[in-house]
């Protein structure tokens, strides 16, 4: 069935709400409105105001109350309206949500999912186009995942809700409306990366919004005579090092693509692991095509600021110049 990512997420959450009455959604404007992106459209009507909760305006409250609900046996799925508005919740996420299992030596587990539409490219205003994944991926105790296709959206959101670990679920908002086939096919585990395009000469590593960009760049590179393998990471914490490294050990070249700023971004951790685990296999250093070390720019500048096909191709050229 061809579905948009928004509809696939909606179906996935509906599925979870039906399957387990302890599942509950909470966030700003997710009920009557169905969310500013309509991801939860119709769910309050069908599951009631107690299970699809229009919260007061406070992100600390959303995550803090989700922790308490989880302690009471619920499985809350929080929605943060935009990437740039997750920060009021960061104290609850980093000092509580991520650490309570450890603090309690396993006595308390918190099956809390925090959905965050993230990334740029939609011509929006400040705080609506950011990529905060590193803050969470660096925080032990959190799982951090992101989907690149409606199929993954549909399966991964259910896996995240089923997980007993707190999970940051990043949704690439500029891919919300693109349609893709969604089936009930067996899904890979939540923490495994996937080779979405086989290739032999170089490995493009992407996640979320940049997977599609990387795939297009790979096709263009093919024309230039370079066979690029594209990996969709899917999980940023934990990282599926094995899938990445075994690919690079074959291709000898790696290029990471993400929207977040370059420095201390996910690309850094990937480069560190690849140069370590594939040291004798690298023909060129691991390259990174990312957002720059500036705040996200005004939208008129975002196309050039974001990693795009052209920048991936010129980086590819650089890789082969070694």
């Amino acid at each position: 069935m061809m579905l948009s990512m928004v509809k696939a997420l909606n179906d996935g959450m509906r599925h979870a709400l039906e399957a387990d009455k302890r599942v509950l959604l909470i966030g700003e404007d997710i009920g009557r409105l169905g969310g500013v992106f309509r991801t939860t459209d119709g769910l309050q009507k069908d599951f009631g105001e107690d299970r699809v909760v229009d919260s007061p305006l406070g992100e600390a409250g959303i995550v803090g109350s989700a922790i308490g609900l989880a302690m009471r046996g619920y499985r809350p799925v929080c929605e943060i309206q935009f990437d740039g508005f997750v920060y009021p919740a960061v104290n609850q996420i980093i000092t509580q949500l991520a650490k309570i299992r450890h603090r309690s030596s396993g006595a308390v587990h918190l099956p809390v999912v925090i959905r965050i539409p993230f990334g740029g490219g939609i011509g929006s205003i400040e705080h609506h186009s950011e990529s905060p994944e590193t803050y969470f991926a660096h925080t032990a105790g959190l799982k951090v995942v992101t989907c690149a296709t409606p199929q993954d959206a549909y399966s991964m959101i259910r896996q995240a809700i089923a997980s007993d670990d707190p999970t940051i679920f990043l949704e690439p908002k500029r891919r919300y409306w693109a349609k893709g086939d969604v089936t009930e096919a067996q899904d890979p585990p939540l923490d495994k990366a996937r080779v979405v395009r086989p290739g032999n000469d170089i490995t493009f590593i992407a996640y979320g919004p940049t997977v599609d960009t990387a795939l297009q760049a790979a096709d263009a590179a093919e024309a230039a005579g370079h066979s690029a393998e594209v990996i969709d990471l899917r999980s940023l914490s934990p990282l599926d090092t094995e899938t990445v490294v075994s690919s690079v050990q074959r291709t000898g070249r790696a290029l990471v693509v993400h929207e977040a700023s370059l420095s201390h971004g996910v690309g850094a951790e990937l480069a560190a692991r690849v140069q370590h685990d594939a040291f004798y296999f690298l023909e060129a250093p691991v390259l990174r095509v990312t957002g720059y070390d500036t705040p996200y720019p005004p939208s008129k500048l975002e196309h050039d600021w974001l990693p795009n096909i052209e920048r991936i191709l010129s980086a590819t050229k650089r890789s082969f110049s070694y």
Binding site: E28, D29, G123, H127, Y292, D293, P297, K300, E310, S314
Partner: protein
């Protein structure tokens, strides 16, 4: 006027101008009409509304990506703005277009943020009007800190009208639920800071009705922190002006903070991207549209014979001129230079960022070459 019903009953709603345009007595608020220029107020109400409707039109035409309309909230904003002194500092949210206008900020510069050419658009110090803050509640703490500076500069309670300074922070009803807003209340109250919190309770936070946030009137929040709150008719420009003037004077003289709840209504959707029909009834909106703050003052002016046909004609002319300026000015807003983010991230650009800028320049140039007509 039918008030916003909160489960725990209601705060008195202070009013000086009734919906039919006649003046009213209030046990708390008083306004010496000799000290206000109703015509100037009316003019600014009209221009504010025109600015707003023109921006909406520009958004429809694709010239703006988004616009948060203030329709229905003109009186609250213009009333509050009219009693600001030059040295006062204003910390707006993203909806205070009317305050910006009265403060003398070029309305064209309000458009850049929503056109995507800038994240700001004006120099906050030019008119002592801060940039719009999009993170709900965050600006209330900036106002508190600025007020702490005012206090340390002895620019409070000196009795010198050109020196004593107040800070006016705007916030919405939804913002009352953010922790940071409440921290701002804690700090302002404990230190008796010269700050006035002006809450436009437009009864909606996107799709969340006020009851999602609270069961009592917003003005009462202040009592929990030890300062005074007052609820005024936000569609009554006189009441908003009088309450704000009193609060600002109190602040300037060292009397500490005040929370003003201007009870009004967000007549349009949250922004041009929002669809209000999904969460509220047309009847409710209709009902509030009938409490138009402009019509109210128009009636007053006519009744008092203050506004003759020439006056209203002049206002309309200015309004059309403004619209014209906005239409032309919006399209003329300069495209941002790709260098901009790199230049303004730090006072002086670090070496590695400079390196990134070089690569970016090279890339942008190559794009321009490849996009150049063959």
């Amino acid at each position: 006027m039918a008030e916003l019903q909160t489960p725990e009953g209601n705060e008195p709603l202070h009013q000086l101008l009734t919906p039919d345009g006649s003046t009213a007595q209030d046990e708390l608020l008083s306004l010496d009409l000799a000290t206000v220029d109703p015509c100037a107020l009316y003019r600014d109400l009209v221009l504010t509304r025109r600015l707003d409707s023109e921006a909406i039109a520009l958004q429809r035409q694709g010239e703006l990506g988004l616009w948060p309309s203030l329709l229905g909230q003109e009186a609250a904003q213009v009333g509050a703005a009219h009693v600001l002194l030059e040295q006062d500092m204003v910390f707006p949210t993203y909806r205070e277009h009317g305050v910006a206008h009265c403060r003398g900020v070029d309305p064209i510069s309000l458009l850049g943020l929503f056109r995507g050419t800038t994240l700001g658009g004006w120099d906050p110090y030019d008119r002592n009007f801060n940039l719009y803050t999009l993170v709900i509640g965050a600006q209330t703490l900036h106002a508190v800190g600025y007020a702490m500076g005012v206090l340390r500069d002895d620019a409070m309670g000196s009795g010198d009208v050109n020196r004593d300074t107040a800070v006016l922070a705007f916030l919405g009803d939804g913002a009352l639920s953010e922790g940071e807003t409440n921290e701002a209340f804690v700090w302002a109250a404990a230190q008796q800071l010269p700050v006035v919190f002006f809450c436009q309770n437009n009864q909606w936070a996107i799709s969340a009705p006020y009851r999602t946030q609270s069961r009592i009137p917003a003005a009462r929040r202040a009592s929990g922190f030890g300062f005074s709150g007052i609820r005024v008719d936000g569609n009554d420009v006189f009441a908003c002006l009088a309450a704000t003037r009193e609060a600002l004077n109190k602040a300037r003289s060292g009397g500490g903070p005040t929370l003003i709840e201007a009870l009004t209504y967000r007549v349009n959707a949250h922004t041009t991207a929002d669809d209000a029909t999904r969460y509220r009834s047309a009847a409710e909106t209709e009902d509030w549209t009938n409490r138009d703050p402009l019509a109210r003052l128009h009636a007053y002016l006519s009744a008092e014979g203050l506004g003759d046909t020439d006056f209203f004609a002049d206002v309309d002319a200015r309004s059309d001129a403004l619209a014209e300026r906005l239409r032309a000015g919006c399209r003329a807003l300069p495209e941002p230079d790709p260098t901009l983010p790199f230049e303004h991230t730090y006072a002086d650009m670090p070496d590695d960022l400079r390196q990134q800028l070089r690569e970016h320049h090279a890339f942008v140039a190559s794009m321009e070459r490849s996009e150049a007509p063959q």
